[in-house]
Amino acid sequence: MSTSRLPIALVLFLLTLSACSAPETTSITLYSGRAQSLVEPLLERFQEETGIVVDVRYGDTAQLAVALLEEGSQSPADLFWAQDAGALGAVQAAGLLSPLADSIRMRVLDGFAATNGEWVATSGRARVLAYSSERVDPLALPSSILDLTNEAYSGRVGWAPTNGSFQAAITAMRHAIGENETRAWLEAMVASGAVSYGNNRAILEAIANDEIDLGIPNHYYLYRYKADNAAYPVEQTFFEPGDIGNLINVAGIGQLVSSGESPAAERLVSFLLTPSSQAYFANETFEYPVVPGVATSTVIADFDRIGNLKPDVALDSMRDLEATLNLLRDVGLL
């Protein structure tokens, strides 16, 4: 075979190879921004219980959202399971999500579904105040995230401005306290020497490493460090109830318009809200249940109080991320 015919033959061969797959059982396609290591056991249980095959494309939530926008009405996906409300909001705003049945969205706690039911939360991810258990007195902690600008914390606070969950928290803050106040807070934080990190884990590691004393990460990472090393010198807490610093962002799932009527897809959504799935999130991924009355023996703090702790912010308002990014750019954080 000549050198130049080879590429064509190879391409054709590979195309034929990949074209041969015919589904026999009921199957649904899930785009999951949630990591395989966290959710695969749960999806396997669903397959065992229902016989419905779930084909999963695991990826980064934001990248999958952008890919869904690009695919539009031709998307092969039935469901999009995202790591934050903003990504769901972006896909919803493009008109790509169809409303879920009332019977499904009524099951979650108040404020944990899109207003028109295009998506429901599957678990809660809280913003918390992390601190060094070696260098910080828990009694001297601020009661509001807005107090982190006090001189006492100057140069001691870490945050992750490029991280999606931080940006979501700022979006929520803009809605709760207003544009100008948010800007003023950000500027005061920058002026007081807040240290920027790439992500939540880096914040915790920096506290342990004595680079900073306080930080505002998501709540679940610390449990993993503690599982590895119980003496890890970092603790975390909520601000006072209702404080904007206690934003509970969610992982949530929505059904795509391109999927059409799909009882199987709806069944998976329903399955994720059952008490046993909710208990799985609480115990295995250290996230907050979003269905009321899930009795659990979890290590996560205040799991039955999040309705009380969380600020009053509609999660669908959080798709308005562009303005947040502009704000962060203006104050020089992006």
């Binding site: 000549s2 990949s18 952008v66 890919a67 992006l334």
Partner: protein, 533 residues
Amino acid sequence: MGSAGIRYRLVRGWPIWVPGLIVVAGIAIPLVYLFIRAVDADFTELAGLLVRPRNLVLLGNTLMLAVGVLATSTLVAFPLAWLATRGNMHGRRFITLLGVLPLSIPGYVMAYVLLAATGRFGASALLLGIEIPRLSGYTGALIALSTYTFPYLFLNLRSALTGLDVSLEESARSLGLSGRDVFLRVILPQLKPAYWAGSLLIVLHVLGDFGVVSLMRFETFSYAIYLQYAGAFDRLYAAWLAIMLLLLTGSMLLVEARVLRNTHVAGRGPGSARTRPAKTTGGWGWLAWPFLGVVAGVSVVLPLTTLGFWAMRGLSNATPALLESVAGSLSASLPTALLTVVLAIPIAYASVRMPRSPLRVLERFAYMGYAIPPLALALAVIFASLALFPALYQTLGLLVFVCAIHFLAEALGPIRSAFMQTNPAVEESARVLGRTPLRAFMEAVLPVVRPGIVASLAFVFLSMMKELPLTFLLSPVGFRTLALNVWSHTNEALYAQAAPHALLIVLFSAIFVGLLLRRESRRPLPHPTAPVT
């Protein structure tokens, strides 16, 4: 030599332009896509985004990092390539492996390893009691990037040194040049194409890197692009930033073309250059050992030990999808490596032997494919394949094709330098002696450019084993690779579960490179008269 190439070039017509067209289409589609997206943008907002002092800071950071990484890689790769081809030490093949393997470690894993090794809770503090300051910022990014990108330069230089026609050096010596002069005036100039090919890859890699700079908290251009997609789910402004990055790349390609314009390095002797007998490394030879120790320590031993340490802790956790992921990785990486090299051979040939043909431009064009940010490339392919060939969407075939186009630039350098080093007269003789053009090409030319092909296969295979952004979005639904598993676990801070997958990437990369090296050294050196028989 150039004029000889025009008169007697061996292959013309469809064997060149068919792959050429495939490549042009593969690269033009994402470029067109970027422009389609870019013109959709709202221009007042756009102006605010593009014309701001911060972009200058990002540009400055990006260029500073690129220059730093290139300088560091040069200092490592040059002596290493020399030792691997000219040193009289035992285990030259081992040195080669040492110079290639770091490429198989995903950049963000390298960054994690360096972060995990340093600092108060780092491995070196816990295990050795030595507290090294935690790496971050420019220094951190520089070290992490250099430790795994220097192989681009190393392999290019190594295959160039292997292909050097030793008779040139002998003539120079017989004309009275000292050893130093031979090195400076005969050897170095011949390494120029290889050096530029390798450095271009390194620079492009730094321009496009996101994983390392974000972990080290050093802000560059590609970081800004990623944030635009990730933060704003926005495809319009991200397209503009990608275009700016491409312009930067384009200007670098022009510089390289200018530098190489008058370079002719083909041997005058037989096409099969005589290889150099091993030579002593001279009075400074003892320095080779500490040098090798440091390079091996930082770029191979440190990451492998750290991964091993993590893996030991994760042994209790079953990793059921391991075999499936190995199969997935290999089924994507092997065809991609082959297809890329098959496309690269005619394009490299055209760029060397047809200096006045428009096809020559293809080779420059291929670098643009490498410089398109992978996420933008993936979105372009989603857009184009759903519009033009929906049946191909999310198939392994399409993934392989797109990755081959993307990695083509990695394969071109070594093959192109190899063509530059071979004397067109060999092809001509084969032709004169009655071979059909293609047969003459296969029998007289391919064997001679083999070191180049070997290096190219290694590049693409290793790059593909750790490829993420394209596999993420373009692979068939449910497709698993080792690289995807490493990413998904590290992203959740589950290092212990990530480590076995990362170790397997390194293992299979080592096996592949090892097999290639065996083939390379067993090659039957074609006798000068071989084409006649």
